[in-house]
Amino acid sequence: MQYQYTAEQTEFKDMLSRFVRDHYDYESRRVYLSSGQGFSKDYWQQLAELGVLGLPFSEALGGLDLPLAYQMAVAEEFGKGLVLEPFLPSVVMAGKLLAASDNSEARDSLIPSLIAGESVLALAWEERDSRGAPGKVLTRAQREGDSVVLNGEKLAVLAAPNADALLVTARDDSGDLNVYLVDTQSPGMTMTAFGSVDGQPAANLRFEQLTLPASAALFKGDALPVLRQILDESLVVMGAEAVGVMDQLLATTVEYCKTRKQFGLPIASFQALQHRIADMVMACERTRSLLWAALQAVGHSHFGDSVAMLKAELGRSGRYVGQQAVQLHGGIGMTEELNVGAYFKRLTAMEVLSGDRDYHLDRLALGSD
């Protein structure tokens, strides 16, 4: 039973930790945030050179084919440093889904360039009314002769403004869920790009009579089981990022309480705050335990349930740790002067994305979407 990273995984994680520390101080992050692109192409390239972008992919595609724990290690370090590069949406979500597809031509042309850091992919699956359920999709893909016509809307598509290609989920004429490869410049698509509350570039997409060649379809049969598997794996990776964010917030808050003085004493000496710190620690540890439990469940029938537990817990604990970190910092926690607020906002975005607490509780309580 794995409850910690192996020696090799730890070595890899330490290397990333150094990379993040060297490149990701609060000031440079601010610069990338306001750069328009929302991240650094230069770092993306460096991450490719470190092998990060190829972790999950087969050697045939040019990847390293390493276990999920490696993706967790990356995400945890990225969480600690609030890294903006789209590892989660581009590699862990879109890349892995494309790699699992039946469309070898699309896969063989795009995955190598993703691994090389030359392109960014995005997965458009969430809709306003799906509220976390990947199968609850209103976007339609209608066959017309040799073409497929897309109509519908996708929300909060992470990394979309920087993407070179989009993977879009839609229901086809037979009612199956399929995934379509869409060029970001396609006529018939309106992209409303925005900065998300956590600084991540994202977009809402609208498709109106967007016409694609039939070869844009990525799967032969119903893609829902594969999509769900990939999304659940991505939630394990997101869980690791959340643990990284929470650990960092906790450490920062403890440090602040030890140095901030009021009434002639460090505020860490007030019992009310000590108890709050203890509750924050428990929130972090609960999430960490459920994270490893979810990793252990990979390949087992209870994987989905384990992931739902993790994400539901992340929703609760992430909120608590974020809110209390702000509270214990007092006024300064409410500003952009310190990075406490930025960590809090990242946790808040994670709570909302990929199904909120209610959605994942329903998965467990009702056993369905």
Binding site: E126, R128, D129, R131, K136, L138, L155, A156, T192, F194, G195, S196, V197, A202, N204, K261, Q262, F263, G264, F270, A272, L273, R319, Q323, V326, Q327, G330, G331, G333, M334, T335, E336, E337, G341, F344, K345, T348, A349, V352, L353, D356, R357, D358, L361, D362
Partner: protein, 400 residues
């Protein structure tokens, strides 16, 4: 039947409603809708204050001879209920609720005559210069120095978290005039203009990406001693009086009720699958749980207020009302965020500006959900943090 709905109250409520139906402009109402913290957008908040001033309703808690309304505490609550139901922006508290009472209680007749009219009309906008980088919860440890030099004080030091300091033309400040004795004893309550030489304002960007609070720096700023309120070294007494003055006025419930009604209406809309959020058992239950919390706040406020006479305050119960009110506001902000879902994610400060032509991204109902959630975290920090309030409440109860 309570004193909030006897026939006299009903008549009063009608009168307030009739006024509110036509008095606020569309722009003022938009500012009310786009208020993402306890502080409404500046320009429209002042415009609304001017309208209330013209009507004679701007300072319900003041004595009538100085421009108060002569309303009972219960009528003041009804007024707050109707204002929040109509969605007008709240009057910014620094003038009418803070510096006004200080001048009323401790100012000379000359100071009253010179300063009260501008406070009421909103022509002067005051900011509150209490907190400092090193003095927050422990306010009495403040260090900003005011050294005596002839007829002036010379100020050196800084203030922080000064809400709307970048809009203000005047500040009321607590400054250190003595380091003898207990820290509370060497503090003086001083009024000053924001355009004095040596005074510098630097806005602070908040979690929502907007400036609301400021840092204010003083380098050899000369302020006439005539601007002092009360005696030298008696500032703590003045500040405590100001705190007591407004304590009767807890009105969180008047804001929460209409907000919750709007949220429920939002959950009752049908989506493209023909479903409504309110039909999700878990969410529906949380709405009802919040209803109960809000009802408890409303009735606690009314119960406490019902027993108060003019000029009285609820003492330690004020701490309880502050904790209850702010924490239910925070819970409301969480539920609203959950309802908004993905539509809460885009940062849309342009669309949030009053009069903006920029269309909201996604569902318009969700526009405020995130900034409101973020800003409302401050409610348990400002005005005496909830940790400090809990200590006060417990102490009061235990010491009986």
């Amino acid at each position: 039947m309570s004193i909030f709905d006897d026939s006299e109250s009903a008549r009063f409520r009608e009168e307030v409603r009739a006024f509110l139906a036509t008095a606020p402009s569309e722009e003022i109402l938009e500012a009310g809708r786009k208020t993402t913290s306890v502080f409404a957008p500046f320009k429209q908040a002042i415009a609304w204050q001017k309208i209330l001033y013209d009507k004679g309703w701007v300072a319900p808690s003041w004595p009538e001879e100085y421009g108060g309304t002569g309303w009972s505490i219960q009528q003041r609550y009804i007024f707050a209920e109707e204002c929040n139901r109509r969605g007008v922006p709240p009057v910014l508290p620094q003038g009418v609720q803070m510096v006004g009472p200080a001048i009323l209680g401790f100012g000379s007749e000359a100071q009253k005559a010179a300063l009260l009219p501008g406070i009421l009309s909103g022509e002067d906008f005051w900011c509150q210069g209490y907190s400092e980088p090193g003095a927050g919860s422990d306010l009495a440890s403040l260090k900003c120095r005011a050294d005596s030099d002839g007829d002036d004080y010379v100020l050196n030091g800084s203030k922080t978290w000064t809400t709307y300091g970048h809009h203000a033309n005047k500040m009321f400040a607590l400054v250190r005039t003595s380091s003898e004795g207990k820290p509370q004893q060497g503090i003086t309550f001083l009024l000053l203009d924001m355009d004095l030489p040596g005074l510098e304002v630097r806005p602070i960007i908040g979690l929502d990406g907007e400036p609301e609070q400021c840092e204010v720096f003083f380098t050899d700023v000369r302020v006439p001693k005539a601007n002092r309120i009360g005696e030298e070294n008696q500032g703590w007494t003045v500040a405590k009086y100001v705190l007591e003055f407004e304590r009767g006025g807890s009105t969180f419930g008047t804001w929460l009720l209409p907000a919750q009604e709007k949220l429920r209406a939002w959950c009752t809309r049908e989506n493209a699958f023909g479903e409504r959020l309110i039909d999700r058992p878990a969410l529906r239950r949380r709405l009802v749980e919040l209803d109960i919390e809000i009802a408890a706040v409303v009735h606690t406020e009314k119960r406490v207020n019902a027993n108060l006479k003019h000029g009285e305050n609820p003492g330690p119960m004020a701490s309880m009302l502050k904790i209850l009110g702010t924490e239910v506001m925070q819970r409301f902000s969480e539920l609203q965020l959950e309802v908004a879902g993905l539509d809460a994610l885009p940062v849309q400060n342009q669309a949030l500006a009053v009069g903006s032509e920029v269309a909201p991204i996604g569902d318009e109902a969700a526009l405020l959900a995130m900034p409101y959630y973020l800003n409302t975290r401050a409610a348990s920090i400002y005005a005496g943090s909830n940790e400090i309030q809990r200590s006060l409440l417990a102490k009061a109860v235990m010491e009986g």
